[in-house]
């Protein structure tokens, strides 16, 4: 049971990479990159999970009264999401500009920078 989230993370990462390597559309490729990134969210949250733990919000839970999940990894995940939003937005803007300048979003047709 405990291995499952880690396997899911590996699977997501490799699926994203496969999509990136075979993509025929740059918007799809940026989406695949987001899939790779979601693997990092799953991994981080899996690392911080505690059996029977509750959310680390101490408004109604007395500190020390019951186990809570690790709040550090949740903070890391949130930071990661912010980073991911920036990257995705920037890359999509670049794709938009590629579509305008090259008239295509197929990476197979973008082969100017060779050799």
């Amino acid at each position: 049971m405990h291995v499952l989230p880690y396997l899911v993370a590996v699977h997501l990462f490799l699926t994203g990479c496969y999509g990136l390597a075979t993509s025929r559309n740059l918007i799809h490729a940026v989406g695949c990159l987001a899939v790779c990134q979601s693997a990092t969210y799953v991994l981080l949250l899996a690392v911080g999970y505690r059996d029977g733990g509750t959310a680390p919000v101490f408004s109604d839970v007395r500190p020390g009264s019951r186990p809570v999940v690790d709040p550090v990894v949740q903070a890391l995940t949130l930071t990661d999401i912010v980073v991911g939003a920036t990257v995705t937005a920037l890359l999509l803007a670049l794709v938009l500009q590629i579509a305008k300048r090259h008239g295509t979003v197929d990476p197979d047709e973008l082969r100017e920078l060779r050799g």
């Binding site: 990159l33 990134q37 991994l43 920036t86 670049l94 590629i98 090259h102 197979d108 082969r111 100017e112």
Partner: protein, 587 residues
Amino acid sequence: MRHLLPLLVALPLLGAALLAATGRRLPRIAVEITGFVVCGGTAALALVLLLNSSPPMTEWVGAWPPAGRESVGILVVGDGPALGMATLASLLTLAALAYSWRYFDAPPHGLTGAFTALMLVFQGAMCGFALAGDLFNAFVFFELMSVVAYALTGYRIDEAKAVQGALTFGIVNSLGAYALLMGIALLYARTGELAMARIGHGLDAAGPGGPDALVLTSFVLVLTGLLVKAAAVPFHFWLPDAHAVAPTPVCMLLSGVMVELGAYGVWRVYGTVFAGPGGIPAADLTRVLVTLGALTAVTGAVMCWYQRHIKRLLAYSTVAHTGLFLVGLGVLTPEADDGVALYLLGHAGVKAALFACAGALLDRFGSVDEHSLHGRGRPLRATGVMCAVGALGLAGLPPFGTALGKAVTEEAVGGPLTVVYVAASAITAGAVLRVTARVFLGLGPRPRDAEYETSGSDEEPETTGLLSRIPDTMTTVPAVLLAAALAVGVSPGFGTLVARSVGRAGPGDAHAAVHWTAHGVLLGVASTVLAVALAGLAVTRPDRTAAPGWAAPLRRLQSGHVGDYVAWLLVGTTVLGALALPGVLGY
């Protein structure tokens, strides 16, 4: 003094925020001056801190020191290498801002402050990465640095190649960053710590029997991220595409310091996290870095020699030199670390100056193609001279800083790897000398066009029109950079100073006196002579130097297709794992 450390990140970011908020209402001159003041102030602060960096400083940001064994604060480390890299990044940013004084003549309407603001964010992110004492913040600054670099690479969004190169750069580097983050998550899972030194202690405490699969996996993932940034083969494909299309001041930063920060990251992370008994054995790191580094140096040198697009040529020369840095770091001796530090400083000056010269050609003639520029550079005497001097610096002609650093590293590395050092520096410098001879002197017959290449003929100049004369800023900046590269090798005691600050940060406070040796001078002169001979051969006998059959597949790998690059990244990760595996199996 240590409380000032976070300012190295905060100052440029505040300056950038100020420019982003008010830039569009200010006249251009005010924006430039604000950029200079903020960037120069940060550089001065970095220099002051660097001079006070022994003993090394550490600062828990926001006064959150660790309570007992638990730490939640953000750790900033100010030792010699960290502050040295921060100073180098700041000074190069200052040089790039000075170079772009007359650049981008008319910024896009309503975006007057954008370029300067982005450069300041870049500076802040590089300083942050250099100073980061915990892995997660290293990742955040790694990403911030990357995102700004993508934006700056694609700054001229009207140019088809620029946006394509920026997208490739973005996808490959982001994927590397996510691999780095997964490695960090695994290390956190094992040790419950994020500060690098504490992770190192945690690994040693958890695994006295040696590394296991988790340590190996995290090592491979972390190294993948850092080596993508350092552009080691086979993670290097993004670099030539990005450098060929980025605006010249950005190239100066990318090649001069950002790529080297990847190598610095490898040194820092291995030394503080994986070097202990619970980490990766030294023999494995040596195998990984020496193999990949030598491969990188050879690939970079070969690809560099067969380029006609001058900026791409310089980009491949950066690939070759990072390979040399990685080999030096891989042998894990204090002398090699000192040598690499000096080599890196000299290389930053020389490479940034050469990019500045290429930028002058681009803005004067609207081309960076060696073939179409044949003989046209004759009027640009100053630029030509600087190009030649830069090439000699690249070859490691004493007394350049590159030569001193290379000599010290060669001595430490020893054996057959010396051949790699001499050959890679001679070939890359030979290519630059060949360009200089053809473009600025018009020597030799006009070379004929080969079939499979990126030419640099119809490039957009980065100024509003072609320049009729090169502005003073665009000749002064490379001259100052070359002088700085020379000063690294010439100033008495500078080498020892660098060695002492690197040694103090490393294990065991070991440091050696760095000085010129007869052996090193001879090797430096030998590689310079070899470079001149290669350039002479290429100019007089262009037929003899056409790409042979064995180089063609290597060039075909650089396909410009982002999917191929991602596939190579996965191959590289697997290779890393395979190279590091024996040490884990040994336990």
